[in-house]
Amino acid sequence: MQTVFSIAVDALAYGMVLFVISIGLSVTMGLMRVVNLAHGAFAMIGGYIASYAARDLGLGYGLAVLLAVFGTIVIAVPIERLLYRRIYGAPELTQVLMTIGITFCIIGIANYAFGPTLKTIPLPPGLEGSVDLGFRSIATHRIFAILCGLSVAAALWYLIERTGFGVKLRAAVDDAAMAAALGVRTEIVYAVSFAVAVGLAALGGVVGAELLPVEPYYALRYMVTFLVVVSVGGAGSISGALIACLLLGGIDTAGRYLVPEFGEFFFYLAVIAIVCVFPRGLAGRIR
């Protein structure tokens, strides 16, 4: 029984880290219909900025996180204006080509600027160490990640379902031409959504850095994981992404515990099964 609890706790923590990093991708893919393979690259940029701020400049963790989020947005917005705008509505394969190209560039630049070694983001004393849950201990930063995940989910839900911006966004997604006719400035809506998605990526990159360490190949190494999580959840759905992260996190964790030598089989077979049963993602949203 204790083992079950233990796995559940690990699964929750892992799933929430995945969620924080992937949810931004769900926004770009689901709401903006861009297969954005460069998502991991933006998360990585966030990680690098935070690492630089906290380790080399000696700034506090909170400040580093803020810098990472806004710094990444500042870097990403020109990219959106120059490059992404050209591929809205383009065929998927064209988007794949463009975003892989962007990823390659970012990797090369990161490698040049920061070198090939691992970069860490020093945690504040409050997040270091472990918390005793009675039956086991868990790293404090994982609890922090869980809380981050929950607040991101809540904030996004509020933004999309309850604010004027959310209304415009949903309108632009359902029918861009109609929304434009009604006076919604779709390109601004898109730019803002993109900035939000990138900001979330950066936040995820920083919060998840303890699990997925920052290095130049981060952008490619975890690309598939993010893509799988988002698609299984159903792109564009917050609840879908949340369920997918917890489910896949659970499957992965349980697989690694019970049959580590077949962990990969376990995970990918589950993915195939889920996609076959829910071809439109767990949230069941049509495209």
Binding site: Y14, N111, T117, K119, T120, S137, T225, P260
Partner: protein
Amino acid sequence: MKRTIIAALAALTIGGAAQADTIKIGVIGPFSGPFALQGKNFKAGIDAYMALNGSKVGDDDIEVIYRDVPQPDPAQSKALAQELVVKEGVQYLAGFYFTPDAMAVTPLLEQANVPLVIMNAATSAIVTKSPLVVRTSFTLWQTSTPIAKVAKDAGVSKVISVVSDYGPGVDAENAFKTGFEAAGGQIVEAIRMPLATNDFSPIMQRIKDSGAEGVFAFLPSGPTTLGFVKAFNENGLKDAGIKFFAPGDLTQESDLPALGDAALGIQTTFHYAVSHDSPENKTFVEAAGKAIGNPAELSFPSVGAYDGMHVVYKMIEATGGEQDAQKAVDAVKGLAWTSPRGPVSIDPESRHITQNIYLREVTKAEDGSYYNKEITTFEKQGDPGLAALK
């Protein structure tokens, strides 16, 4: 098809190809991609050797030609080796970070009349694939066997083995198991986890549940190591007094700054520590540090490359610059010298390097940096893996 032509000496001589007294050495390694750091170390070791020993052997100029295979890709590796031999006319092949890349090249050697000096790839069997292979690095059997004795001597009798599920991981597991069981210890469980494991918490739970007093671990150096060591501490295994044993790949110097305090106290056995205290090593570290640019990036492949160059130089000396692979290899059988890592020799039978293996512990230096502090020396270790092959 990533390749790099860096004429170590003379871009001049490329034009005058007919010049007979330039001897070319083709080096294949990961110079880009996720393992670029290791390739950089190859180059640093080679540059250091040539800086210290000159770029001439007798009258012959030495030219090193680099080719890039970023990730294990035997087909690519073989194609590049073929190109090096046929097009560039190299007389020696060297380098090779990954085992499959080296394996792919061995069938070529005889026809090409070219010896192969392996500077890293660490699977025992490679040297058996061709009589023209010499290795100056290590094997996982070589580095993982002594740690079994260390574990037993530390009073640990039940150990769980946790390795990444690929060739080197399996080698490490077998080596440790053989050594530990021979010493009277018991392997309570042997876990092989997928290479692409991000979250190690469930593995830590397994370790905890197994009731082992110690854990033997092997993962490829890089991002996963960091996650593993952190998870070990955060899940309370360190506090629970579970001992951590591993071959030195886990605490390679270039990863130590990132690992930080988390790695303190981890004991590993390995053939080389950058901090090794000897005049030879001081000279080497200084030269190699200059070659690599940032001395913090220096790691074990550099010494394999450095000694590999030594072997190649000796081969050239012995053959007088003539292309005769068998003669060259025969000349270095039994060759002994003092390497930056300590006294070493080439075993005449296996053509693998015999060397000291050191037990080290990750320690914080006075200036706040971390290093592998050598504690015990296991002298003149051969490769037990070859015996296991038979």
